[in-house]
């Protein structure tokens, strides 16, 4: 009976994407995330073809899928649909059409995620039973040995919390004048790395217990290529930080608040990830590939909307709602002045396929 003990609500902060379906909502500003889901589809299909043992859902005869960090849709529905179709196809192509199981899909995100919006958006003609699961994926969410296929797209780069040291004035890792580790000193980088490593240990520990033996965990994540500097993929976050510093200089926000504000995200390298997975020991890495995403040029305005949908909750909590319009207008202006940074070559999106060992 580990549920209460390992319940994640005590160990994690919540940074849900902006809810509802208004102009600044995640639902209306997640087109790039959709392109990532599209790009992952081929690998998902190949993964299921090569790695899925169809007998894993016996004797219950239901195939259980969970999407972690689902936000409010619609991308999460697309991911689940892609998985479901690929599994069904495998049954068909192996001559087992009559044995296709039923499917239940669990949509997970923080308790403060807008589940009302998610449920209202569920596709009406879906071929699965749907359930919402509130809580941090860095803790236990499901009973033991109950999920056949875990999926998560662009969510596990979010840390469970800001590393403590970077907000403490007395610490050597104090991140004064910046809101991220990407252009900061080694101490700050190490604090972020340590938090990521700890979080992923919790993540893998929980998933190892919850995944059916020979079940799959497929994660699409924002990362950085081996050997790349930390700043490469995080240019837009640095621009957001410089906007906040500008506003501090103008007295719109307090400098102290900017000093203590940090975006809790980390871009892992494949090498780092391999070490973490091996240390956990319960999963084999079946694939770890760079996803080729064809992002259209989306301009400064769209960049501002995307950034706002993802970070509005965090910023509101620290600085109040009233600064949002000014901040993102300034951000848009700065991006316009150096539009070339939006070129997609600098971001690295990986897809890793883990298979639960049977030991």
């Amino acid at each position: 009976m580990a549920a209460a003990m390992e319940d994640s609500s005590n160990v994690s902060e919540a940074y849900p994407m902006t809810g509802g379906d208004g102009p600044n909502s995640y639902a209306k500003n997640s087109i790039r995330q959709k392109l990532v889901v599209d790009a992952a589809k081929e690998l998902l299909t190949k993964t299921i073809k090569q790695n899925l043992d169809l007998d894993i859902c016996l004797p219950c005869d239901t195939f259980y899928i969970a999407d972690l960090g689902c936000s409010v849709g619609p991308n999460t529905f697309l991911s689940v649909e892609n998985i479901l179709e690929a599994v069904k196809f495998e049954y068909q192509s192996r001559g087992l059409s009559s044995q296709i199981p039923e499917f239940q899909a669990f949509f997970n995100d923080h308790t403060l995620n807008d589940f009302n919006m998610l449920f209202k958006s569920l596709p009406r003609n879906r071929n699965y039973y749907a359930a919402g699961v509130p809580g941090s994926f860095y803790g236990r969410l499901f009973p033991k040995v109950s999920i056949h296929f875990f999926h998560s797209s662009l969510a596990v780069h979010w840390l469970s919390r800001v590393p403590k040291d970077v907000t403490e004035k007395t610490s050597r890792a104090w991140n004064k004048g910046r809101i991220h580790y990407s252009n900061s000193g080694d101490e700050v980088v190490r604090a972020y790395q340590a938090q990521y490593s700890e979080d992923m240990e919790c993540f893998l520990h929980a998933r190892a217990l919850e995944t059916v033996h020979r079940g799959l965990v497929v994660l699409t994540l924002l990362g950085r290529h081996n050997g790349d500097s930390h700043s490469l993929g995080n240019v837009v976050v640095d621009i957001l930080g410089s906007c906040l510093m500008d506003m501090a200089r103008k007295g719109v926000v307090s400098e102290e608040k900017v000093d203590s504000f940090n975006i809790p995200s980390y871009c892992v390298s494949p090498q780092e990830l391999e070490v973490i997975v091996e240390r956990n020991g319960c999963f084999s890495i079946e694939a770890l590939e760079t996803l080729v995403c064809h992002f259209p040029e989306h301009g400064a305005k769209r960049s501002a909307s995307t950034m706002r949908a993802a970070t509005e909750g965090l910023i509101k909590q620290q600085f109040g709602e009233e600064i949002l319009d000014e901040l993102f207008s300034l951000y848009q202006q700065k991006i316009e002045e150096q539009i070339s940074i939006l070129e997609p070559k600098k971001s690295a999106i990986f897809c890793v396929v883990l298979k639960r060992k049977t030991n």
Copy 2:
């Protein structure tokens, strides 16, 4: 693959209780419902002791509970806790403490239910994994043979829709000048009975597929004693109807709207219920008892709040939000004038225990 075909969202209307935690919310106005949960606890415990085969959750080793029509809490958490404690106690008292399974609880209600509020209210120290399941319980909600214990408290007296005939001017069952069947002619009563019967057939058909063999379905329901007239348990609904007619006479609402407005609820008798369960054929009735609920005298004001929390959504949809305050103030006044009708002896609350046959 019956999910899409049997998805309930197409066949049912939604009447969620008032969400949030404001003064008119269900969360703040469900004390009587809590007393019903308390009253059912003893029977629940006895039921589990006498009827639960502990091997039914093998080989998955997780005990799956679903509460249907859960609203926003907190009563639903109490019900789940009561079930969980009784199941654990059975393991312990049969010397199987080391084999106590993990628990997952599914909280179900209409898609428009306030799941955000429900999730925020989940007890922090719970001993189960929680999930929300949106959709009408008159359709399929779960995979086949996946739930060990279904529970529903004061929810299955709500029909899936207003019986069509009672709103049609040309029908013999047209329910002019009334908002319920309780004091209406035989044709209206028959239309409500037919709708209830049809709904419960759908309910039992879906649960029969979803319940693990030898699993239990425990329903607490508002009903009427065998032989009692339909009006006995529905006096307060009739008073609400008379308030609306008064307001129509004063021109505050249109008479036509009152004529076409009907509360979609039905109080079944034990005899009727037995017939429906036997016709379905998949469940044995292990118990069907009258619950003894000790309602405190709660006065006209509390009666108005309780009625409002349960019917506000329905009324808003038909008449608009602006009439709510006046309507329930009038209702309170009328109840005050005949306060003796609140005496609990006139209501009949039953608890029925169904066990899934193994055929």
